[in-house]
């Protein structure tokens, strides 16, 4: 007499299938007894008592499936086990088990989902361009999340996509919303009639979230990757995005978002805009608004303003209505900043921004530049800011993009993993010169699922550290997202406020606050 068995880990079968497998084992010729059970403590105990025990079962857990057979000889037991296993395998194939259907190639994916017209590609940079090319050849629109794709390949991909009438979003395209489906880092926003083309990922998230929170909605949000508006690429996909929104019957208002496009690209955008009757709001951060106006578009100074202007236009109001409301709000922020700066000790001279979104870091620099704040340093400086040569060490008013390559090699993006930023918050809090720490918190799919739980301890500790040293440290942040996001924007804002942070309604608002704090500190 012999006992044989096996353990199946990570495989789950419904009770009927388990019952049928047990029947197959029990009815096999020469089998004396058999069982198919989950590896709970109690079931293991029964197997022992019933003479169906194998020492290997010791290591099985509650979620493992145990198959045990007692038979007259080993061949019979092995045959019975094979029969039972076949039953399980058949059921697995019939139910389309996940691992059976997980394709390992683009061709396999297309075969698995016939009729698909879109591919989201996230692979190591060196493979990304080839795979994107295959997808375009197969007639699929592409969102290329991967970065480190050579510029020449990006141009090649975009030219091919243009010729085929397809979207080639990216490389380094982290967010998009197509037909209501959020892709990669995106927020849960209402559907509506505002279309976005963005060469700035967090810019797209900020605008789409504010639009949604204002009761308007997004028709499409097309990402292009940040390099698209540079001279070399020539805005190929930005222009294709504009064309797509022009033709999209659901889109009534358009918003274009990027850092300042190259002059030649801006000219082409202007030419495209001239042929469009739909109102176009731009958030070309840092650009002279007169240039945009001359091109027939409505310039917004900030992401927030662009969102509010678009929402106003969508509601049949004038864009200027949104601007007027913002001016009043910004006066209150200025007053708050003056009060904050007044509480800072004499040695507390600087603001320190620790960003996960590059666009937000740029927007903060622009608002500092507006107030002529001297000594603004950044690892991603805009014209007017000074380069921060060692991004690991702050200097002056430091505005740091923690999503820059220097910080993300071998580490998850700071929108996902807060550990690096939390350490940096404590470092900045320890520095006697720090008066204000500035943060962006970006919610939505893909982002850190528990921002309050992970940021709050660092915020509390930073404030305590400064307190112990007799300093009053302010931590201010914005929370980009919507109540519908998995993290729930109002809940996160309330949680961070409880931890001691001042929460502002947008990155523009908190950056304006910080700029005024810096301005006031500089004037002391």
């Amino acid at each position: 007499m012999i006992v044989e068995g096996e353990i199946r880990t990570g495989m789950y079968f419904d009770s009927v299938t388990l019952m049928l497998a047990a029947r197959d084992l029990n009815t096999a010729t020469g089998v004396l007894d058999a069982a198919v059970v989950m590896g709970t403590k109690e079931n293991k105990s029964i197997l022992k008592s019933a003479g169906l025990w194998l020492d290997a079962f010791d290591g099985a857990g509650e979620t493992d499936l145990l198959l045990a057979v007692r038979a007259n000889d080993a061949a019979i037991a092995a045959a019975a086990l094979r029969t039972g296993a076949e039953r399980l395998n058949q059921r697995r194939a019939a139910s389309g088990a996940a691992e059976d259907r997980r394709p390992v190639s683009l061709a396999g994916a297309i075969e698995t989902l016939p009729g698909a017209n879109f591919a989201l590609i996230s692979v190591a940079g060196r493979y990304a361009a080839d795979l994107a090319m295959q997808a375009l050849d197969a007639g699929l629109h592409v969102m290329l999340f991967s970065d480190n794709v050579p510029l020449a390949r990006e141009i090649e991909l975009k030219q091919l996509a243009q010729a085929k009438g397809l979207l080639m979003m990216g490389p380094d395209c982290g967010t998009a919303i197509l037909n209501g489906v959020p892709l990669a880092f995106a927020n849960v926003v209402a559907r509506g009639d505002i279309g976005i083309v963005a060469a700035a990922g967090t810019g797209l998230q900020e605008i789409s979230s504010i639009v949604s929170n204002r009761g308007a909605g997004i028709s499409q949000a097309i990402g292009t990757g940040g390099r698209d508006v540079k001279r070399e690429v020539g805005g190929i996909m930005f222009l294709e995005g504009i064309r797509a929104l022009r033709e999209d019957p659901l889109t009534r208002v358009m918003v274009l978002v990027s850092k300042p496009p190259h002059e030649s690209v801006l000219r082409r955008i202007g030419q495209a805009a001239a042929e469009i009757e739909k109102p176009i709001v731009t958030a070309f951060l840092g650009i002279d608004p007169n240039i945009v106006t001359e091109l027939g578009m409505t310039p917004a100074a900030t992401l927030e303003e662009a969102a509010l202007m678009a929402a106003a236009l969508s509601a049949g109001q004038k864009a200027e209505a949104a601007t007027a409301a913002l001016r009043a709000r910004d006066c209150a922020i200025e007053q708050e900043a003056i009060e904050c700066a007044a509480q800072a000790g004499p040695g507390q001279k600087y603001i320190r921004g620790l960003y996960s979104g590059g666009t937000f870091c740029a927007e903060a620099q622009i608002l500092c530049r507006e107030l002529n704040i001297a000594g603004v340093y950044s690892n991603v400086p805009i014209p007017g800011s000074c380069p921060l040569e060692d991004p690991w060490k702050s200097r002056g008013h430091a505005l740091i993009d923690l999503g820059d390559d220097a910080f993300t090699v071998g580490r998850p993006h700071p929108m996902i993993d807060y550990s690096l930023r939390n350490r940096r918050i404590l470092e900045e809090a320890n520095a006697a010169e720090t008066a204000l720490i500035l943060l962006d918190v970006v919610l939505g799919y893909g982002s850190n699922p528990n921002p309050v739980g992970e940021l709050s301890p660092a915020i509390r500790e930073a404030i305590r550290t400064a307190d112990r040293a007799g300093r009053r440290l302010t931590i201010a942040c914005s929370v980009t997202g919507t109540p519908q996001d998995p993290q729930d924007q109002p809940k996160v804002a309330a949680g961070l406020q409880s931890a001691g942070a001042s929460v502002f309604p947008s990155n523009a608002a908190v950056s304006r606050f910080a700029a005024h704090v810096a301005h006031t500190l500089g004037g002391r």
Binding site: D14, T27, S49, V188, P449
Partner: protein, 302 residues
């Protein structure tokens, strides 16, 4: 068009990863908390952790995210108006009616068990082989209805089944007599993805909750204590037991329990048959747990 017909009140917002696929159902676990949600077709029906969908190809879906008013399944974003309430509702307790209805439930479960044993796959397959040699009604297909026999139940031929039945009976006797350690003896015991012991305990917890809702407030500590003991690392069992401890359950179980308090015998029988049809024996095992809780605790204090 893809529609969400129902979303349970214990489906947490968040993003999920695919855990396992079944015929007509997908199980997802939430990133972070590890809590379970089942995306099911209409045949499976509503439950506290169920998202009931129509028009979705389950075999090609492996992404789920739940926002307060939207469910994202695969590439579809589906608006959700409101969530169903899966909790047992307060009922009036009429001792005579409950006693009569419990009798009907017991007979229905025994009848279901006999039918399964007579016509079930084990018996069909075993006729002329080992089972007929033993001349016994060995029957994992009949669930744990052997507990309901007033006369000595047939002795199973298999050592495994004999051991299972003995232990189960011992655990239930302890639990019914007020020794809550009986729950530990039953937890995780027996066949099934959710072992029969877990199904029984879920039913027992629901029975206690129903009696509390009918005014037997003194049962609350016992329900809480069993709920604490009935912890499982099997996500399917954990979801079942956690919900049951809060008085939440799948729709057929809710209907049966309500019916036991409020309806006549034919209605009880109809609901009992419907619940018994869930899974291989899960529904019947759960109903057996309900039966023992109601029968043994209906006289508890207010």
């Amino acid at each position: 068009m893809i529609e969400v017909l129902d979303i349970g009140d214990r489906v947490e917002t968040g993003t999920y990863r695919l855990h396992s696929r079944f015929h007509g159902a997908l199980a997802f676990v939430r990133n972070g908390s590890g809590s379970l949600v089942s995306v099911v077709d209409e045949t499976k029906g509503a439950g506290p952790v169920h998202i009931v969908v129509r028009g979705l190809d389950l075999s090609h879906t492996d992404f789920l995210a739940v926002a307060p008013h939207t469910v994202f399944l695969g590439c579809a974003a589906i608006p959700v108006e409101q969530r169903s309430d899966s909790r047992l509702q307060p009922v009036d307790l009429n001792a005579t009616r409950l006693k009569r209805n419990l009798g009907a439930l017991r007979e229905t479960l025994l009848s279901w068990s006999r039918n399964r044993s007579d016509r079930g796959p084990i018996q069909q397959a075993k006729s002329g082989t080992r089972a007929s040699r033993a001349g016994q009604g060995a029957r994992p297909t009949g669930g744990i209805a052997f507990l309901l026999h007033q006369h000595p139940a047939p002795i199973p031929s298999s050592a495994f089944e004999r051991e299972f039945a003995d232990r189960f009976r011992g655990g239930v006797e302890r639990l019914v007599s007020g020794d809550l350690e009986g729950a530990s003896a039953i937890l995780g015991l027996g066949p099934g993805l959710t072992p029969s012991g877990d199904d029984f305990l879920a039913g027992f917890l629901l029975g206690l909750y129903a009696l509390e809702a009918a005014g037997r407030a003194s049962l609350a500590p016992e329900r809480r204590a069993i709920g604490e003991m009935a912890r499982s690392r099997n996500p399917f069992s954990a979801a079942l037991l956690n919900c049951a401890a809060e008085g939440r359950c799948i729709e057929p179980a809710r209907s049966l329990i309500h019916s036991l308090f409020a309806d006549s015998e034919p209605t009880v029988i109809r609901h009992a048959r419907r619940l018994a049809a869930v899974g291989a024996s899960s529904g019947a095992d759960l109903a057996t747990g309900v039966y023992f809780a109601l029968k043994s605790r209906q006289g508890a204090g207010t």
